[in-house]
Structure formats: C-alpha cells, structure tokens
C-alpha cells in the first residue's frame, strides 16, 4: 500500500539529510507505529507519504514514495487526498470550517463527491465517531478528545485507503486518548484501514501496532520489525516493556494484560521483598494556601470551593480530565485570576494583588506553551532579561539552563531549540527569581522518554532545594515517578488528595502501568521494582 524505495530527504538550507536510505513497505490493512526521539524525522517520514514533503515544505527528496500505486513525485498532496488521510499534530489548527458536520463534509466537497453520497457518509461517520449529538456544535467548543475524533473523521469521509496520524493522543487525558484509540482500533479491525501513526506515548499505543518502525535520527537506517523485537533494544520503551526486560520475559509483553498474565512469579518475589519507600507527608513550611476558591467563567463554575495547601519540598501532581479545573487552579495560584470567592495566599500574600516584579520572586509558572514566556532573539538575551526582571546577579538563569540542557548555545534563537530545550529555557527563566512555589502546566507534551527522565531529575532537585512544585499533568507515568502527593480534580472540586501511592494504585485512569500489572502490590515504577529485587 505504501512503499518507500531508497528514500532520502534533505531540507533546504541544511547540510545533513533528515532521512536517508529508507526502504519501507507497508502492506494493506496494517497498523504501523513510528517511534523515535524528538527531532529524529518521524514527522518528515509521515508527511512524505502524502507528498507534503517535499511539495509543501520544500526540500529535496531522492528515491521514490508510492501510495496505492501513485508516485508522490507526480502527485501533489491534493491529488492524493482521496487515498491518504493525514491528521497533523494540532487538530484545531487544521480545521477549515466551523461546525462538526461541515468539517466532516469539507474533504468530500473538494473531491466533488455527489451531495447524496456526502450526506450518507457524514451520517455514517457521525455514528462511527459517536458524535451524532454534537453534529451542529462549533468546533472550538468541543473537548480536546472530541476535536481529535472530528479531525480523524474529517479525513476518513472521502474513504481514503491509508490513514496517517502525527501524535494523535499526546495532548489528551487518559480517557480521551482511549476513545481515540478505540476509534482507530475499530477502523483497522472492521474497515481494514492501513494506518501509519507516530506517537511519543508508547505505553498507550504499542499494543495495537502490528509493526514498529524505529527512526533513530541523524539519517541512520530505520529499524523495522515486530513491536516486541524492536523494543527489546530500542532507546524508547514503555514501562511495561522495561518491566519485561527487567524480569527477563521473552517475548516482551506489550500490554498490561500480557504482563499481568506472566507477573505471578515476579509478584511472589516482590511479596517477600521490602515494600517501596513512601516519603512521609511533607512537613516543610506552608508556602501556599488556597481556601474555598470559587472561580466562574461566564457564570459557569470552573472551581467550586477548592482547598489546597502546599509545603516546601513537596512535589504535587494535579490530575483530572481536560476541563476539570487544573489550569484554572494554577492560574489562581499565580495570580492571573483572582477567585470570585475564597482566598489564595502565596508566601503570605495575595498573588493577584502583587506587582509583577514581586510576583516572580514568590511564584513561577511554566504555561502549557513554554514558548509564550520567551520573546528575546537569543537564549543568552532571554536569560539576561530574566536576571534583570528578577533582580539577581547576571548569569543566574543561564547557569540553571546550562544545568538542564546539553548541546545548546547562548547564541541560538529560542524557536530553534527542541521541545525539551525550550521547556528547560522557560523553566530556567522562571527559576531565576528562585520562587518558593513552582507550577508547571502539562510539561511533558512533546517530551520523549529521555526528555522526561531529565525533567524528573530537575524536579527532584527543586524539591530537595525546598521548592514546592505543582505539576498539572495527564502523564500518569511521570506523576508516579516524581510526585509524593497527588490531587485529583473533577468538575472543579478536589475528589482525592493524598500520597501518590494511595491515590493512583487503585485508580483505573491514573494508575501507571507497573501498578496495573502488579496490583494490589504498591509498586509504581520499574525503578522501584528493580530496587526492591536488589534489596530482596
């Protein structure tokens, strides 16, 4: 169905090729997962399938890419629209119309599908997506998971034979991601769709893949094979695979179910081993306190009386579905939004009433889009301005940045940094004022496993230095690794608040993979299991 023959791709103005010598054949009806580190060329590979590379992006393509017998050299992306459906990373920026129904019909209109056929297919697709009730809704009012489903549905209505997806679940909360994956599963199994998909969050998708393509980056050849074989040596692997590596299981388990069926012996060994160490509840100074906070947007409550206390030296995970009020709670803590009722105190002061300069010394926040914090032309300038804003000696922010990241230079433009480096720069800028409270909103979007590992080190270091850190995240694995305490929000209320181990072990949505495999044993991460096995 998709064939790459000796394909090499080099972008204009760059010396090194992104991909070279790529040979890949994807037969009809297969679900192929593309994995690799950030910047390794996954997106380039995906975009070459429908000719966006090089027709749209520019650059030089050598070799040949054919889809359903059509050569992308002779066919532009628009000429392949009837065989390849392509969904980019951010569904919202790819929407052309403004309501669900019209968006589903848009592709068919471009292809000149007769009106009766369009009408029928839109109705069918609304049922496949499970969104018949939202047919007339404006797209911007949908939840993130619904938007992603509409984006997928809108490229499916012209009945393509191949579906190409770039990070379809990265920005979604666990249950919205499951909805999208269930949809994909159905397309592959019932409709025989060929799917090529890139995804950072391997733990969510690897069990659905027929084959895995590892893009090592730097123009090195691809590694292609059955998921268990490729993951045995891959630098990126979900926790369940790492657990399998640790326990020496062959073939490696890919899903929680696989692993759980083999975990009997491991569970028995762990049962005799000492239970993993849980840090006692933090007893540091109270650095921030929210009392009975109520926040409304246009009369709709986003927070309904939230109480939260933060102590120096603790790392707190703030979890809950999209729209549960996580971001709103962070906004009130940092003084961007003062509550309609209740009080917020950070280091004894109301953050909304503080002048900006005072604020940065008490509380710092890295927003969802770390790039929003950056506007200088170079990394060095950015750090220098941060030092000036915070009134600290020159070089403070850059020292933090250099401690987080290797391989970046002060002369680089912030936009040229990788996702992880940009996050590090935003964090360095925030940390320049050494605020006792540090908030991070979804810090792992676009971070690969090594990037996350580096972030974990940084957060642990901050806690050890006596900062209170709050992490609003959907990433259950990260939360399990780094946090001591988990607060779950639902519908604007705190529904659980306690030691992470107690909160997540029993939760179907927020339990990390290792906890699901070993439940009811209280181990959360592979590292904990390894430590216990060594001790036992």
């Amino acid at each position: 169905m998709i064939t790459f023959e000796h394909v090499g791709i080099r972008y204009t103005g760059s010396d090194a090729p992104v991909l070279s010598g790529v040979d890949l054949h994807v037969p009809e009806g297969e679900l192929v997962l593309v994995v690799g580190r950030t910047g390794s060329g996954k997106s380039t590979l995906l975009r070459a399938v429908n000719g966006l590379v090089p027709h749209f992006t520019g650059g030089l393509l050598s070799g040949r890419v054919t889809v359903a017998g059509r050569d992308t050299r002779e066919h532009r992306p628009r000429d392949l629209a009837d065989v390849v459906g392509y969904v980019g990373q951010d569904p919202l920026s790819g929407f052309v119309t403004d309501t669900v129904e019209e968006e589903l019909a848009y592709g068919m209109e471009s292809l000149g599908v007769p009106p009766e056929v369009m009408r029928r297919r839109v109705e069918e697709m609304l049922d496949v997506l499970g969104m018949a009730a939202q047919r007339g809704r404006p797209l911007v009012t949908l939840s993130a998971g619904q938007q992603q489903r509409v984006a997928i549905g809108s490229v499916l209505t012209p009945h393509p034979r191949v579906l190409v997806l770039d990070e379809p679940t990265s920005a979604l909360d666990p249950s919205a991601a499951e909805d999208v994956l269930a949809l994909l599963q159905r397309l592959v199994h019932d409709l025989g769709m060929t799917v090529l998909m890139a995804e950072h969050r391997l733990e969510r998708v690897v069990q659905y893949a027929d084959r895995l393509v590892l893009v090592p980056g730097g123009g090195r050849p691809l590694v292609v094979g059955a998921p268990a074989d490729v993951l045995a040596t891959a630098p990126v692997a979900p926790p369940v695979v790492e657990l399998g590596r640790l326990a020496g299981w062959t073939p490696l388990p890919l899903s929680v179910r696989d692993a759980r069926r083999r975990a009997g012996e491991l569970a028995a060994r762990l049962g005799a081993a000492p239970v993993p160490f849980s840090p006692p509840p933090a007893t540091g100074d109270l650095v921030a306190e929210v009392r009975g906070a109520i926040v409304r947007y246009d009369g709709r409550p986003a927070l309904r009386g939230v109480d939260l206390q933060l102590r120096a030296g603790e790392v707190v995970a703030l979890m809950g579905r999209n729209g549960a009020g996580k971001s709103t709670l962070l906004s009130t803590l940092v003084g961007l939004r003062s509550p309609d009722a209740g009080s917020v105190r950070v280091a004894g002061e109301d953050p909304a009433a503080l002048p900006s300069r005072e604020l940065v010394r008490r509380v710092g926040m890295v927003p969802q889009e770390p790039g929003d914090l950056l506007y200088a032309d170079t990394v060095g300038q950015e750090c220098a301005e941060a030092d000036r804003d915070a009134g600290v000696p020159a070089g403070t922010a850059y020292a933090v940045f250099a401690g987080l990241v290797t391989g970046a230079t002060p002369g680089q433009h912030p936009r040229d940094l990788s996702e992880g480096q940009r996050l590090a720069l935003a964090l360095a800028v925030v940390l320049a004022g050494r605020p006792p409270v540090v908030l991070l909103d979804e810090p792992t979007r676009g971070l690969d496993y090594p990037g996350k590992a580096a972030l974990v080190q940084v957060l642990r270091g901050l806690a050890a230095d006596g900062h209170a850190v709050v992490l609003a995240t959907h990433d259950v694995e990260l939360a399990a690794t780094v946090t001591d305490r988990t607060v779950v929000l639902a519908d604007g209320e705190v529904v659980s608040d306690g030691p992470s181990r107690d909160v997540v072990v029993s939760s179907p949505a927020f339990a990390p993979q290792v906890a699901k495999v070993l439940a009811p044993l209280p181990w959360l991460t592979v590292a904990e299991v390894a430590a216990s096995l060594k001790a036992g």
Binding site: P115, S143, R300, T328, L373
Partner: protein, 381 residues
Amino acid sequence: MTWHLPALPHLRALHPGAWWLWATGLATAASRTTNPLLLGLILAVAGYVVAARRTDAPWARAYGFYLRMGLVVVAIRVVFAIVVGAPVPGHVLVHLPEVTLPDWAAGVRLGGDVTLEGLLGAVYAGLQLATMLTCVGAANALANPRRLLRAVPGALYEVGVAVVVALSFTPQLVEGVTRVRAARRLRGRVHTGMRGLRGVAMPVLEGALERSVDLAAAMDARGFGRGAAEPGARRRSGALTLVGLLGVCVGLYGLMDATSPTALGLPVLVVGAAVAAAGLTLGSRRSTRSRYRPDLWRAQEWVVSCSGLVAALGVLIGAALDPAALAPSTSPLVAPTLPVLPTLALLVALLPAWVAPPPERHVEAVEPESSPAPARVEEVV
C-alpha cells in the same frame, strides 16, 4: 425575555441570500425617505422580524449592536449640526457663542444660533442613515454570515475560504494576545510602551503564522484547489466578474442617490449584473467541487425576498407620486404625514415574521479549557 417555543419542529434554515435581499429592500426604502414616521416604521418592521426569527447564535446579537451604532450616528449628526452646520433660519432655540473664523474658512460656522429647523433636519438625515445601518444589522442577525459565504458561486470559492479563515483567525488572535499578556505577567513584566507592544506582538504573530502554515498544509492534504481552472480562464472570468460588480456598484449608487441621472441607475445595474453573472458562470463551470447540504431556494425564500422588494418599490413609487410626503420639509416646518402606499408596502415586509421557518434554539455547554483564562470572544460581524 421568555420565548414561546414553536410547536413546529425545526425544518431548515432560510437561505441567507433571501434575508439579505429582504434587508436590502428595506435599506433601499430607507434611502429614499427622510420621513421620520416611515423610518420609524422600517425600524419597527425590521426589529419585529428579527425578534421573531433570529437564532441564539453569536451573530444573532448583531441587531442590537447596529441599533446602538445607529443612535451614535444620529447623535454625531446632531452635534455637528449644532456646532458647525450651515446656518438654517427659523425658530431659534439656543444661541451659542459664535467663533469668528478667518476668510479662508468662509462658509464654515462655529457656534451661533441653533434653530429648531436645523436640528430637525439633522435628526431626519441621521435617522435615515441609522435606519439603513440597522437594516444591515438585521440581515446579519438573521443570516449566518458564513453560510452566506458558502452560497457564493464556485468562481468566488477561494475568496470565500479566505474570508472564512480570516473570521476564525480573529478570535484566535485575541486569545493569543490574552495568553501572551498573561505570560508577560509571569515574567514580571509591566506591559506598556513600544517594548511591551513588541513583546506581545511578536509571539502572537509567530503563533498566527505557524497556525496558518498548519492550516494550509491541512487544506492541501484534504484536496483544496484540486481540479482548479487553468490560469488563463481564471483571469478571464475574474476580469469579467470584476467589471460586472463595478457596474453593479455604480448602478446601485445611481439608484440610491436621487440626484444622479436616471441612466446611471437601473440600466447600469442590469448590465453590470449580467456581466458579473457571465463571469461567475464561466468561472464556476470548471470547478469540480460539490456542495454539502446546500441552502435551498424554495417558496419561503421567494416570499421573504419579494416582501423586501415590495417595500422598496412601494417607497420608490411613493417618492415619484408624492415627493413632499417622503421628504417632509423642515424649513418651513411641516408635520410629517404617513403616506398610504409606502406604509402598506412597508407592512408587507413584516411577512417573514410568519413565513420564514422558526429558528432552532439549543443551549450549548462550553467548558473553559486551556490556561491561562481564555478571553471570551464575541463575534461581531
């Protein structure tokens, strides 16, 4: 306001073109009279139909917005008449101190006598403009502007898409500004002056640029511009359409401006419309696009658009028969009367309040999502 929900289920939305024709008819009628009674009647007719048939969509609030804008227009017109208008002799209401201006500003007066005649003349003229504006507002409130764009001929498809994209970009831009300003506060910046502007504008524009590149890629991947006409044919049809539309503009101007020669009105309008139609047909013939659930033009659309036409014709004929009644004199002062034919014709324009299908009303839950607090963006078109 409580709404009596219609017993009939929602069938379909009226073609937006029908609402625009109806509103254009009323606006044309308003352009031919300064009689405050007739203008008031037009406002009442448009207001009643809007109240009866608008939806609860964001654009449906346009009527109130245009009405307020109309009041501002009247106020400005009156203030100018008081302060700098040409002197109108008659009943003096107030005497303002007059400023003597140098010779080169002869003919311009600052201050002086304010007469009832001058004031009324200004109110009439302001009211006329305000009524025409409100008619446009009524069309905006009743017809989704985007659905109107969907109804454009295939030859204008690209233009239509550009406008739709621009319409969805504006709220995103506003949201971007809010986000970046919030981020600046997180950096401990106070946002003032040129440096502040640059700090906000750069990230917002960069973000907008990235979005538009993403959108272009998505549109290309979904077949936009497939089977487009060859450049020569496109240029020919484009030129024809442009010349035709220019003719339509000149014709409309001629029709609405009572002082221009008759030859400039209807004949130019008809010829221009024909040329534009030819250009559009030529351009649309090559388009291979199809339309999803196009708005249909049925009996109801005919009734709605014709009722607007009747109103316009009634006032036009009335103006020919009895010019004094449609433009009541303010100097000397004459009490305005309600001429029979235009009044009846304007009442015909009330028909859509019953003929047009009742609107669908539904309540939508919108949840705030991203951080920091997104600005509430109202769409005003």
